[in-house]
Every structure is written in structure tokens, then in C-alpha cells.
């Protein structure tokens, strides 16, 4: 079916056999200190002039051993750690972890908690996409969208700050529900934000969507087919831009996503431009979900009955959610004690990053930057 050699990404880094006049094969080290690798990613590029012959990613510069730490913390104590993985979408990480442990404990979060969770998670998805858009545009050379997106992301972070006191690594949810009741005016703030942000999204689109240079830089760049996506396990907007209508929020709904009405945007070509369009549309769909949630949010408790000392029964669970970057999964093995026996995080960025090689082969150096941007990786999550 698929030829595995097509996906290999190791370079023969020995000295190339150079002839006198044909020695323009270059090995370039991009990163770990580089303005466009979104952190400490190191990509070794093999170039023929400007053309990319192959790449190899060297990762692990930000490895903190999160999975090892989990084995030495109780279930509750490990909760804040997951925020530090994908630090631009900390709320999503927390949601996935809490729901996984709730499943192990056989606890259901109360409806009001679920609504709060959905609102905050979707706000976080929006923030993550905004950050992605700004940095991606900056990589391609458009400076200005970065400041516009950061201005609007600020409003989301303000809501987070008012809700739980933290802006980035929020630790907003607890196992069994939410710790904090919404503050006075939470709904008003969210509704104000819902009215505030759609014109801003149009503004980003105005700067980029029909810009000739933007089109030339993104159309047919970093193409990946749906079959390649599935073979490489690529998920999230990248998969959807290749034409696969698959979103865990619809396919295997978690929290109370099944109660909301929203579309899954898809692309056709699977190029950088489609991924851009998919994410832009996803921002609008998130707003739709938030609007429904904030209008229907019920009264009631926000915390389920959870034992003070959590000792889930022996067993294991895999629970995954649709994080802004793709499928974020938690595989937790419990041995009946207060500490998880093994926590495995299935990070979307890590798996998506594998596709970099086949996406940029034969392209130019500038495309590598564009593709790294469009994959939307966060090195905290890749390296854990």
C-alpha cells in the first residue's frame, strides 16, 4: 500500500562526494537557535543551492521528562504539569487529562462544569490559532498580522486571568469538574468578546487571504495527501486541509460537544493555503460553539463528588481530545495506588512534525520555514 521508504528522514551526513565545479551541496543547521523554528527545534537541511534535498529533525532540547514525573506525582499533583506541554493551549491539555482521569475514576463532571470547560477550551483554541497565525505570517514575512493577533489574543488571556488568575498555564480544571465558579460578568465578558473578534478575523483575512504574495508563498507549498496524512498519523487542521472530515469533537464527542452545532471545515489540496483557510474557519466555528455554550449555560454544581484521595481501580484508559494542533491523547495505567503507574501523552505536534520531511522535499529553503509554521508545532509538546 504505502512505500515506507518514502517517509524516511535520515540523512547521510558524511562528506558528499564533491567534484570541482559541482560542489554546491550544502548541509545547513537550522536551529536550535533560529527565529523561525518556533522554539528549540533543530532541522538539519541538505541543500542543493536553495533546493531542499532532505531534512532531519533533531528534537529533545526541551525534554523535561513529563511522563517520568507523572509516575512520581499523585493524580491531582500531576494536573498542572500538563499545562506546560502545549503551553499555548494549556486549557486543552488540562481538559484531556482531567477527562481521562475522570473516566478511570468513573466520575462524570456536572453539566455546568462541562459548559465552562467547553467555553474555555474553545477560547483557548482561538488563542492558539491566533498565535499560530501571527507567527506563521511573520515567518512568511508579513510582520503586521502578528501584532493584530496578539492584540486580540490578549482579550482571551484577560478572560482566563479573571477566571483563574493565570494567563498562560491556567490550570483551569480539576479532576471532577472545575474548581472555580465563573466570576461575576464572565458571561458578559465572553459575549463582548464574541462581538469583538469576528471583525478582527476579517481584518486578518483582509491582510492575507487575497494578497498575491501570500497566495504565491502558500499555494502548492508543503502539499500532503490524505493518504500520507493517515499513514503518518497527522491529525488536526493539517489532516482536515487534506480533505478528511475528521474531528474528534464530532467523531467521538467528549465533554458535551455533542450538544453543539458546528461545522468541520475541510480543504481540498492539502497545501499551506488550505491549512490557513481551515484554521481561519475553525476560529469562526469556535466562536459559534462559544456563543451557543454561553447562551445555554445551566446553573448547578461545578464539581462532581470525587474522593479526596484518588485511588482509581486497576486498569488503563486511553482518552483523546481534539486539541488545536490535532489529536491529544492520554494513556494512563493505574495500579490502584494514588500515583499513576504510567502516563503516556500522545502529543499531536510530535507526530505532525514527522511529516515535515516529505512536505518540504524538493521545495526551497523559504518553504521549510513556511511548512514549519503551518504544521503549528509547539516544542514544549514535541519534547515534553
Amino acid at each position: 500500500m504505502t512505500d515506507p521508504t518514502a517517509y524516511l528522514s535520515h540523512l547521510e551526513l558524511g562528506e558528499p562526494d564533491k567534484t570541482f565545479l559541482d560542489s554546491n551541496e550544502l548541509i545547513i543547521n537550522m536551529g536550535p537557535q533560529h527565529p523561525a523554528t518556533h522554539g528549540v527545534l533543530r532541522v538539519i537541511l541538505k541543500l542543493d543551492g536553495e533546493k531542499v534535498l532532505g531534512t532531519e529533525c533533531v528534537i529533545g532540547y526541551l525534554h523535561r521528562g513529563v511522563e517520568k514525573i507523572a509516575e512520581h506525582r499523585t493524580y491531582t499533583m500531576f494536573n498542572p504539569y500538563v499545562d506546560r506541554m502545549d503551553y499555548v493551549a494549556a486549557v486543552s491539555n488540562g481538559l484531556g487529562y482531567c477527562e481521562a482521569v475522570e473516566k478511570l475514576l468513573n466520575v462524570q463532571a456536572p453539566p455546568r462544569a462541562n459548559y465552562i470547560r467547553v467555553i474555555l477550551t474553545e477560547l483557548n483554541r482561538l488563542a492558539s490559532h491566533q498565535l499560530w497565525l501571527g507567527t506563521h505570517a511573520l515567518d512568511i514575512g508579513a510582520m503586521t498580522p502578528l501584532f493584530y493577533t496578539f492584540r486580540d489574543r490578549e482579550e482571551i488571556l484577560k478572560i482566563f486571568e479573571k477566571y483563574c488568575g493565570a494567563r498562560l498555564t491556567t490550570h483551569a480544571f480539576r479532576i471532577g469538574g472545575c474548581l472555580y465558579e465563573t466570576y461575576d460578568g464572565f458571561e458578559r465578558d465572553v459575549k463582548k468578546f464574541l462581538d469583538f473578534v469576528p471583525p478582527k478575523i476579517d481584518e486578518y483575512e483582509e491582510l492575507l487571504t487575497t494578497n498575491r504574495i501570500w497566495l504565491e508563498r502558500t499555494k502548492n507549498v508543503g502539499k500532503i495527501s490524505a493518504a500520507d496524512c493517515k499513514a503518518l498519523g497527522v491529525t488536526g487542521p493539517v489532516l482536515r486541509a487534506s480533505g478528511v472530515k475528521w474531528d474528534i469533537r464530532k467523531a467521538q464527542p467528549y465533554a458535551n460537544y455533542s450538544e453543539f452545532d458546528f461545522e468541520i471545515p475541510t480543504g481540498v489540496n492539502g497545501d499551506t493555503y488550505d491549512r490557513y483557510m481551515v484554521r481561519m474557519e475553525e476560529m469562526r466555528q469556535s466562536l459559534r460553539i462559544i456563543r451557543q455554550a454561553v447562551e445555554r449555560i445551566p446553573e448547578g454544581p461545578i464539581m462532581a463528588k470525587v474522593p479526596r484521595v484518588m485511588k482509581p481501580p486497576v486498569g488503563e484508559i486511553y482518552h483523546s481530545i481534539e486539541a488545536p494542533k490535532g489529536e491529544l491523547g492520554y494513556f494512563i495505567v493505574s495500579d490502584g495506588s494514588t500515583q499513576p503507574y504510567r502516563v503516556r501523552v500522545r502529543p499531536p505536534s510530535f507526530v505532525n512534525l514527522q511529516a515535515l520531511d516529505i512536505m518540504v522535499r524538493g521545495a526551497l529553503v523559504a518553504d521549510v520555514v513556511a511548512v514549519i509554521g503551518t504544521l503549528d508545532i509547539v516544542l514544549g509538546e514535541v519534547d515534553r
Partner: protein, 169 residues
């Protein structure tokens, strides 16, 4: 316009040309050689200016220093320098080269001694402001045929270069 310090500038520019010419053939590093060559070409442009030929000087700067030498550097930078530095600087044809250089030098000396009769020094100096115009008229009038032949030759060279460089057309 009255010239200023003419002998001084002449000897300065001539000296620069000579020194850079020597540097071109003695430098081990090809990039240094190319840079010395650029210096020599610029000094020559200065000499043209002193001969009241500003158009030639301008063309010299644009074409040689700005265009051709940049391409030279371009190629040299891509070439494996370590290997070229290992190679011998003077190859086996140095004897022939020496003979040619001596012959050329003899010619120059001969012209210098006898030249005053061959090239009268007091020929009419064309007015400065229509110098460019004269060049144009000569190029497109009297020497039209030679000019067209030269351009054809260049066209052939361009096509040849494309054919050689491009693997698939």
C-alpha cells in the same frame, strides 16, 4: 572644467592598476584575486575618465566591476576552495606565457619610443558633453556591422551556456 592635480592622479591610478594586476596572479585565494581584479578595473575606469571618456568609464564600472566580476565571485564562492588552493598556481605553460608577456611588453616599449609619430598627441580632443553621442553614432553608424556581429556572438554564447548548464530543457 580645469583638471586638478592630473599627474598625481595619473600615477596613482596607473600604480593601482599595476599593483592590482600583480596581486591578481600572485594571490593564492581566488576570491582575493578577483577582488584585486575589480580594484584594477576600477582604477582603469579612473584612467578613462582622465582621458575625457566618461562614457567608457561608466560602462567599465557597470559591466566589468558591477556585472561580470560579481558573476566571477559568484562562481568562485561556489567552487571548492580547498581543492583549488592545493593545485599548482603556475602550470606547465608558464614558459609560453612568459614569451607572450615579453613580446607584449616589447610592443609597448616600441610604441612608447616610436609612438609619437604613429599616434599624434595633439589630435583634436572631442568636446566632453557630446562624447556619449559620438560613441553612439559611431557604434550604430560606421561600426554597425561589427556591433551586430558582436551581439550575435553573445547570443550564441548565452544559448550555449544555457544548454550546458541545464540538464533538461
Amino acid at each position: 572644467m580645469t583638471p586638478v592635480a592630473t599627474p598625481f592622479f595619473f600615477y596613482l591610478l596607473a600604480g593601482l592598476t599595476l599593483v592590482s594586476g600583480i596581486l591578481v596572479i600572485t594571490r593564492k585565494n581566488p576570491v582575493h584575486s578577483a577582488l584585486a581584479l575589480i580594484l584594477g578595473l576600477l582604477a582603469q575606469a579612473g584612467l578613462y575618465l582622465m582621458l575625457y571618456a566618461p562614457f567608457v568609464a561608466g560602462v567599465q564600472i557597470i559591466l566589468y566591476a558591477g556585472g561580470i566580476m560579481v558573476l566571477f565571485l559568484f562562481v568562485i564562492m561556489l567552487v571548492n576552495l580547498q581543492r583549488s588552493q592545493r593545485e599548482e598556481q603556475f602550470n606547465k605553460q608558464w614558459l609560453v606565457g612568459l614569451v607572450a608577456a615579453v613580446a607584449l611588453g616589447a610592443l609597448f616599449v616600441f610604441v612608447y619610443i616610436k609612438g609619437s609619430t604613429l599616434f599624434p598627441a595633439n589630435g583634436p580632443i572631442p568636446a566632453e558633453n557630446n562624447n556619449t553621442q559620438l560613441v553612439g553614432e559611431l557604434l550604430y553608424g560606421q561600426y554597425m556591422f561589427a556591433f551586430e556581429i558582436a551581439s550575435l556572438l553573445l547570443l550564441v554564447a548565452i544559448i550555449g551556456a544555457v544548454v550546458m548548464a541545464k540538464k533538461r530543457i
